[in-house]
Amino acid sequence: MSTSNTDSSLVARVLLEDDREAFGELVARHQSAVRGFLRHLCRGDAATADDLAQETFLLAHRTLARFETAGRFDTWLLGLAFNLQRNASRKQRRREFEAVPEELPEEGPTPAETFAQKQDVAAALAQLSNEEQLAIHACYHQDLSHPEAAALLEMPLGTLKSHLTRGKNKLREILSHWSLHS
């Protein structure tokens, strides 16, 4: 990769010249990771995840001067996305609580039922707890190191490793029914 294409130099171009083309390149480069991460956080709700992803990039544009070039740009973006989703989720819960305090939302099919119907990767991962899914997503899909993933998800390193181990054990059990190479 040439020097002019590193994330840091693109960030510098945006900061110095308000270069939209450079920012567009950053968005194009990282949109898949951010949207994929948010889809996991939103439990598959692609529309909400994409709205939050847009907000993430707009926030990144506004606060780009706070990005420390010593760090990884994608990890910084995922941190923004994580915080935005958490705030949105809190607001949503508060609204639901205030609107219909006595009614519980209708439960969809359980992860086990979904898995029985679809037999696909997403369903296998859906059988894990939220923390296990997030830990696996951060470490294997976003290729973050364990300390980076722990910092991103704001959990101690030991807790992250526990979630990873438990998640992988569950997956191993689920996947023993079908070939990984299929």
Partner: protein, 131 residues
């Protein structure tokens, strides 16, 4: 039932098969269209420079009497320490005036533009240095 996959097999599977790429589908374009309008190229104008010059000249004009008073205080302290109270109060006054001017200077928009410019230049310098 097939045997359970090994740790390596599972990790390899997670890194490849389970990793889904989300297609752009106009996402980048949507984000760019939602960015605030680009500001016109900025250059320092007399409106921005004038307050900076005024503040700097006031600071400099404060500096000479301040140094004189400081020297007087030094002399008085050596000759008659009890009479140095007046000079000390005057010096405290100079310092307060200078501090107020610095605070006003920091709050002024023309100077915040200078700070922001310096920050951007620093980013470029550090990224170029790292590369």
């Amino acid at each position: 039932m097939k045997p359970e996959p090994s740790d390596e097999e599972l990790e390899q599977w997670l890194r490849t098969h389970a990793k889904a790429t989300v297609p752009d589908d106009g996402f980048t374009h949507t984000v760019l269209s939602r960015l605030p309008a680009k500001k016109a190229a900025r250059s320092l104008t007399w409106k921005q420079i004038a307050p900076v010059v005024a503040i700097l000249s006031t600071l400099i004009s404060l500096l000479y009497p301040f140094l004189d008073t400081l020297e007087a205080l030094n002399r008085t302290l050596a000759e008659n320490p009890a009479a140095a109270v007046g000079d000390t109060v005057r010096i405290a006054g100079w310092l307060c005036a200078a501090a107020s001017l610095v605070v006003v200077a920091l709050a002024l928009k023309p100077l915040s533009f200078v700070w922001k410019g310096s920050l951007g230049a620093w980013h470029q310098f550090t990224s170029a240095f790292r590369a």
